[in-house]
Symmetry: C2
Subunit: 702 residues, 2 copies
């Protein structure tokens, strides 16, 4: 709730208010952000869900290997396995298109809070307020995009119910793959090292943005030319030392630091444990199925990986929440805030504010099981999820094109259905059955009014379990949604067809649909009320603490700074903040994910580190650790030194730093980047990527 | 092969040659060892396979919880679970006898090399030499024990084929349990933390030795009185700081530092991987069986634990051998040694010495599979092992009592058979079957002359696997050795009964017996030759390096010293050498092995550390880490400061220090002890064990 000295993902609008000189910056503020002129910000891009940065005048972008992963995989063929072997386009015409990749650059922002909030009437219910805010945002975005064809307009809520900014993004759609290290380097350590320090992952890759010959954004075309950014980041091969100041620019996704103790308690006691329990069970089942055959292992691999990642993140968060005792800490702060409110008649109206927020969370608790089951049913059964998407699609297509959710607009409809069909590849009926049985068994405990109707027919019978299993078996035996042709067929049908469906899964979803509508209404009412209460709360807090507040991360461009810094995660354990090539040797077992290419091992052995050597460590630094304030979405963020030179590439956080989503901790908040010296040394020694090193103006290699 | 500065488990005979002042000792050498008078050595005891030390004038012994484990378990009843709750004898008459526990004190040593080696004749074969050495040792021990009734005489080989010392031990047999912390403290961290730093285990306990009222050694008798040691160790509750000098006295078991590269290669490439592979497979099988029921889990628990311990030890060793590149290092040293030999006609006879040793190991390699299968058959099947012991027993009992192996002498025979019967408790026939099938399948690949005869009947048949399985099934269906009465019956029968046995397992062992005889002959020939070669090699090495050599650990009393010292096991990871109570809080999950008693958590929370606080760490130190040279058998060794005051209790090594058996490494050799401040703080605050604290003369507690 309080904003600490070094905590902060500062929106660009805050940069003018920061004393960066005092913090140790050697470059001027307006070299970082300058609405009147070009600045470092012009070198920062969003690459799908990640961050990237221009590192040459010819549109070359540095981002993470895991951010370019889809492009590398798609570029691979049985003859050329770029995922396994890495990829280096020897000449520019060998660069490979990466369809589906979009690069955006923040061009401007504007406060639109009044335009949005003025539409709210006193007489409206919470649910109606929520609806009207969504509607206003939609109108503002549509109008802005009409004014700037080719740009994307997005309204971001900075403080809920209070501040809304309209961001304008230049969108560049011809993105190509330029360079990627082998998977054994780019993903070195895999799931085992994920969220862990010390790290030795070369999680970097290069892409390039192209535009039409006249400089305008364009879809892929062989005639396109490299985009010339207004500014690109200069690389320093000098690297960094422990305690050096560093700063990051990037697009952090989501944090919840301004929420109250009731929210954190809800997350800690209810939501995260429930998801963790479900995923634990699902991973165990998929693991044992994966033992049966390589085919089944492949089918389940990405779902196991994704869920394991979430589990590790949650375990880290739960550990952090317990260690920081965050709920108690927030409660203590809220007690002081209440005393402040009570002491001043000015806040008369806000007497019960915290109690009101708590009351909403109490209500959310009451609905939790209902919310959880409805939300995780589609995540548990791919066929159920497909039925749901098809149903939504049919409903949306009844509306005029510009009123539909964007995935169902005519422009994007085929892509949406193609993506749906792609998901069929991972469908395994026994897994579907087991997952559905598991989660529907939990649904039998719901109160009558919230329980799926189908279950009511037998939950009081003598053998409810058998009947539930029979229901699920029958659902999967009488659906055809696992066939591509059927999915495509359904995607063209009107809502009436769903009502008279003979497909058991479609039919099952149609039966559940009223419950989903009910859930949406409840959620709207809750978020409408919370938006308003949080806005009130912020006013009180600002008056109480007499300081500016930094909005929670929300996917918009932010600055954060800190230092290359060691940490002590446990008693008697101390981690140095710079790892080296020797750690790669130590971890290498020859087995994935520790299967370093033997040529790389030879190069490490030869120890020809040249100008990329860290003298004191007598090796090339591989990864760096720093206490800046980051979260998901900061993947691919450039790490700059005090002079604004690029020295690293952010890609992960330490285990204990998963707590960042709820609170920043000087002890535990540590982010992880690839040291640029490793990137350069690897490109030079392993890949002989001289074309790119020259393009980035790296002084003459050996 | 070389003896490094700080490397060294010095035998007491070496103490007079050490410059301890220069090393930083503040007490005089003759306070540690003085054959003319009492010294610190008189406070050191061997407690079964562990070390212990007297810590009061009344025979009170401090040793590890894991060393007293058997006594604590045996003392426990369903009403009083001392393993779970801990034990504190409020008064002396409440101390509980620990049958099976023996305490020995080293009283003197004498060089008997000449008496042994003079019996060897030039004309003897290697096997005969090996036999004659064993025989001479037996004679010397028997004669010495006759001279000193009640003492134990043991000849220890210091340098193989070269130096033999006769040690005389005073044996004390009335040992009682005085104090033990709860298992959740004494085994905190269990298998997970085993061989690991940072550590937070309170691995300590107290026992007391009693003697007859006239002071002579005696078996348990309620009339016995506490033994009054010549000397006891004084405890310092001041504790230690990083980089303080410490020394240990104890009984390290076995090291192999003087062996050649061919031995290490044999261990690294052949023996350890083979054992690891077998145990991995066996643990997996037992783990999956253990899921079936709690009963099966208990049956397999101790075997799983033992094998997991070995596996972790081997994994640590294999890692260390690879990191140190020990085989290559030894080969390089041997190359220099060969050049030295060639350079001097004095060593004419030793020209091919290293090649001869290598030739033996080549031969051992050829026999490895045979040796491995015969050695691990009894370790894989308890019933097979019982059959083997019964067969050996019958043969030994044909001999005069004083010529038998000691386990089969009349004095110890009942105990041996009782122990055999105890092993029946863990027999689970499906496990026996699976293990036997697994190892006998490997036996089918042996050459004809070494293969168990029974297998020959079908290995060339069309379905050898089925027939092998049928054989094992039949072995276990037609044996009665899982019945206690049958084991006792067989234990009284003469060798002739075995020849006409109708018990399938006995019969199977009798069939294999000639192979075991063959293996023993081969081993005798190898060890006879190696003994002689190693003796020659030592002469050359001493001349080459012009320095004294420290014999490998062999279970005799040793001094080692070093410093409280941090270490860096991996890139970017640094471990502080003193852990604290806060680490207990961090690790505690509430689930075994991290299930700290809630009362202890409360005490840590209250933070009333009194005079046991480490000011800089703001906590009570729990465990300490130091770079002395230890190995198995050093468990329970007292850790002394430079003034000879007891400051800790040794109980384990760090993972990387498992390499100690082959080489000492300044980087990785670290041993782990309980800090005496934790012992005292815990006894005072948790157990209120004032009687013992007073007895140890700890200044007045709170």
């Amino acid at each position: 709730m309080t904003s600490h000295a070094r905590e902060g993902m500062f929106p660009i609008s805050e940069i003018p208010n920061l004393d960066l000189k005092k913090a140790g910056f050697e470059i001027e503020k307006d070299e970082i952000y300058n609405p009147e002129n070009t600045s470092l910000l012009d070198a920062i891009v969003k690459v799908n869900g990640c961050t990237g940065s221009f590192v040459s005048s010819q549109g070359l972008i540095l981002t993470n290997h895991h951010c370019a992963y889809g492009a590398i995989r798609r570029a691979s063929t049985p003859e050329h396995d770029y995922l396994a072997d890495g990829f280096y386009a020897l000449t520019r015409d060998k660069e490979i298109p990466a369809p589906g990749f979009r690069v955006r650059i923040t061009r401007s922002y504007e406060d639109v809070s009044d335009r949005i909030l003025s539409a709210i009437k006193e007489s409206m219910s919470w649910g109606e307020r929520s609806e009207v805010i969504k509607k206003q945002i939609n109108i503002i975005e549509t109008q802005a995009e009409k004014k700037h064809p080719g740009w994307r307009a997005e309204v971001s809520e900075m403080f809920s119910g209070k501040t809304y900014l309209l961001f304008m993004y230049e969108m560049l759609n011809d993105v190509r793959l330029v360079y990627a290290p082998p998977r054994s380097v780019g993903e070195f350590g895999g799931e085992i090292d994920n969220w862990m320090w010390p790290r030795h992952t070369g999680d970097f890759s290069f892409m390039r943005v192209y535009v039409a010959p006249d400089g305008s954004p364009a879809e892929y075309d062989p005639e396109n030319v490299p985009y010339e950014p207004k500014r690109f980041a200069r690389i320093s091969s000098q690297g960094v030392q422990q305690e050096d100041l560093v700063f990051l620019l990037g697009y952090p996704g989501r944090t919840y630091r301004h929420r109250t103790s009731s929210f954190v308690a809800y997350e800690q006691e209810l939501r995260m444990p429930a998801v963790a329990e479900l995923y634990d069970w699902q991973i165990d089942l998929m693991d044992s199925l994966s033992m049966e055959s390589r085919e089944l292992a492949l089918k389940h691999a990405s779902r196991i990986k994704g869920r394991a990642n979430t589990m590790k993140n949650y375990r880290g968060k739960l550990l952090g929440l317990e260690r920081l005792d965050l709920v108690e800490k927030k409660r203590a702060e809220e007690k002081l805030l209440k005393a402040f409110i009570a002491s001043d008649p000015q806040w008369q109206e806000d007497q019960d504010l915290l109690e009101k927020i708590e009351a909403i969370y109490n209500e959310k608790q009451d609905y939790f099981q209902f919310d959880f089951i409805l939300s995780y049913l589609p995540r548990s059964s791919t066929l159920f999820s497909i039925a749901r998407t098809l149903h939504t699609a049919a409903q949306e297509r009844q509306k005029p094109d510009d009123e539909r959710k964007s995935a169902y607009t005519d422009r994007r409809y085929n892509e949406t259905i193609d993506n749906l069909v792609l998901r069929l590849k991972t469908v395994h009926l026994p897994t579907e059955k087991a997952f559905l049985k598991h989660i529907l068994t939990q649904a039998t405990d719901l109160p009558d009014s919230l329980r799926p109707k189908r279950l009511n027919t037998f939950i009081h019978s003598p053998h409810p379990k058998q009947q539930l299993h029979a229901l699920v078996d029958s659902l999967l035996e009488h659906t055809e949604l696992h066939q591509e042709s059927k999915v495509r067929e359904w995607s063209a049908l009107p809502p009436t067809a769903f009502k008279s469906s003979r497909d058991a899964m479609i039919d099952f979803y149609v039966d559940l649909y009223p419950l989903y509508e009910k859930l949406e209404k409840i959620e709207n009412a809750h978020s409408g009320a919370l938006d308003a209460y949080h806005a009130q709360l912020l006013d009180v807090q600002m008056a109480y603490q007499d300081q500016r507040f930094i909005p929670d991360a929300n996917g918009t461009l932010r600055l954060t700074y800190g230092h290359i810094r060691s940490y002590s995660p446990r008693d008697a354990v101390h981690y140095h903040p710079i790892s080296t090539l020797q750690g790669i040797m130590e971890k290498t077992t020859g087995l994935e994910p520790f299967d370093t290419p033997s040529r790389l091992l030879d190069l490490i052995d030869i120890a020809d580190y040249g100008r990329f050597e860290h003298k004191a460590l007598n090796s090339v630094p591989v990864c760096i650790l720093y206490d800046t304030d980051t979260t998901g979405g900061n993947s691919g963020s450039p790490v700059f030194n005090a002079r604004g030179e690029l020295v690293g590439l952010n890609f992960d956080r330490a285990f204990e730093a998963t707590i960042n989503d709820y609170a920043w901790s000087a002890d535990y908040s540590r982010s992880i980047g690839v040291d640029v010296r490793y990137i350069l040394w690897f490109m030079q020694s392993y890949s002989h990527a001289h074309r790119l090193l020259q393009e980035m103006e790296i002084p003459g290699g050996s």
